[in-house]
């Protein structure tokens, strides 16, 4: 009888320990996730641009600070597994607006959002942003003309399509303008959150002039 009790207590202790371990891992993963989501280069570059804007266009500077606040709030206080497509689109639009103030007139940025206002579709957060970041990283040139077209739509209820095409200016390894989650991470997250429920194609077209990333998420 006593031996059974001792054994049970040992098992219980073991279970407690592994529970603690799991909790620790979860917190660590969360922290790591957070670090990945806030690209320090994006943050610093945006602050620099806002600093200049204050000199030339105070209203635009205020607007930029609001956009940045919205982005930070979304990233920092939003640890849900799924968010509404509208929240996610709003986040991407804020990001695009902030990136636009850094660019020369050489670059054309077009966003085309066609998701019905009544849509209740949920998506996993901060997935599309990696594709958008990537487009800004490779689609922009200081010398040549460049473009980025971002289209997010819901062709059928519950099905979200994100198509991003951009002019292709591959950058050297020494350039550190981008970073963020990276496309490898996107792949991992898709496998985890949308197993067998997504199609993702990346390809180069127009004789190497255009890069396209086409992601569809199914119900």
């Amino acid at each position: 009888m006593l031996s059974i009790f001792i054994k049970m207590s040992a098992n219980w202790k073991k279970a407690q320990a592994s529970l603690k371990e799991a909790e620790k891992m979860r917190v660590e993963a969360e922290l790591k996730n957070l670090k990945n989501q806030i690209n320090p280069h994006f943050l610093l570059n945006t602050l620099n641009n806002v600093y200049s804007l204050i000199e030339f266009d105070k209203e635009k500077a205020q607007e930029a600070i609001q956009d940045l606040s919205k982005m930070l709030r979304y990233i920092l206080y939003n640890q849900r597994d799924y968010v509404s497509i509208h929240e996610e689109v709003g986040f991407i639009m804020n990001y695009v607006k902030l990136m636009k103030i850094r660019l020369t007139d050489n670059n054309e940025i077009i966003t085309d959002i066609s998701v019905s206002e009544s849509s209740t579709t949920q998506v996993t957060p901060l997935l599309f942003i990696s594709l958008v970041e990537n487009a800004f990283k490779h689609g922009i040139s200081a010398t040549d003309k460049g473009f980025i077209h971002i289209s997010i739509s819901e062709p059928e209820s519950g099905i979200i399509s994100c198509v991003i095409s951009n002019s292709y200016h591959p950058k050297s390894d020494s350039d550190k303008s981008g970073s963020g989650i990276g496309l490898e991470q996107v792949s991992k997250r898709l496998e985890l959150m949308y197993p067998n429920k997504y199609i993702w194609n990346n390809y180069i077209t127009d004789n190497g002039a255009t890069y396209v990333s086409n992601l569809t998420l199914y119900k």
Binding site: H41, L44, N48, S52, E55, F56, T104, A142, D175, S177
Partner: protein, 245 residues
């Protein structure tokens, strides 16, 4: 004195602010702005430019690589949002390094450094008035500007001084590393009292007290051999005539 100046940054807003800073600085003569370094290089090849403000992190040609391609007297001040480039910027001998976002006063401080550099390097021979002024002051030390500090050095702590183009390296007793100072040899020679020091070469001034021995037109101090050149041999001969047994 005005410095002809260009600015380079791939981000238009940063470029605009920099332009404003340059144009409101009386001693800077704004010559152009460029959103990429390659265009700026082309401009420099046909126009004299004294000072370039250049962003480090740019696509295609970055600021550090750009500065390595700039030849001649053109001086560089880097601007960047990322402090990890600081070490490399010192390696390429930049005048200064501005961390974005920087205020006009930060900017002016860096620009002043460049102005000082040019004024020092174009300074004519020192006036006799200054020299006599210097000898009157019966002290035993000199003030040396190195980096952001001005330090006081006792004459007795200076072993010898070596010139490196626009800089001098001052070897001292208390440190294995020389103190580097932006100054021409002629200037520092005049500032040092004759009783203590002797110029033995275009590139060397030696503290007389530190000489161990002289051999084959070389002065030996510890492990260091300092050459005595023909044009300065007279100085040494004079000393030896007075002091040699």
């Amino acid at each position: 004195m005005t410095l002809r100046c260009i600015i380079i940054d791939d981000e238009p807003l940063a470029l605009n602010l920099l332009e404003k800073y340059v144009t409101q600085t009386p001693f800077l003569d704004f010559k152009g702005k460029f959103s990429n370094a390659a265009q700026a290089l082309e401009f420099i090849s046909s126009t004299n430019v004294d000072l370039v403000f250049v962003d480090i992190q740019m696509p295609e040609l970055n600021g550090i690589d750009f500065s390595k391609m700039v030849k001649g007297k053109t001086k560089i001040i880097f601007t960047t949002a990322f402090s990890q480039y600081a070490v490399e910027s010192y390696r390429v001998d930049a005048i200064d390094y501005l961390l974005k976002p920087f205020s006009y006063s930060d900017f002016l401080q860096a620009a002043n450094k460049a102005l000082n550099w040019y004024e020092l390097s174009s300074q004519p021979n020192i006036t006799s008035e200054e020299v006599s002024d210097n000898t009157k002051a019966a002290d035993d030390s000199i003030f040396i500007k190195t980096g952001r500090k001005i330090i006081q050095l006792k004459y007795s702590s200076i072993i010898y001084i070596e010139s490196m183009r626009d800089y001098v390296k001052i070897y001292i007793t208390d440190s294995p590393h020389p103190i580097v100072c932006l100054a021409r040899m002629k200037l520092i020679e005049h500032k040092l009292p004759e009783g203590y020091f002797i110029r033995v070469h275009r590139s060397y001034i030696v503290n007389k007290d530190k000489i161990n021995f002289i051999e084959n037109n070389c002065i030996i101090i510890g492990r260091m051999r300092i050459p005595v050149s023909d044009s300065y041999k007279n100085n040494l001969d004079l000393l030896l005539r007075k002091k040699q047994l």
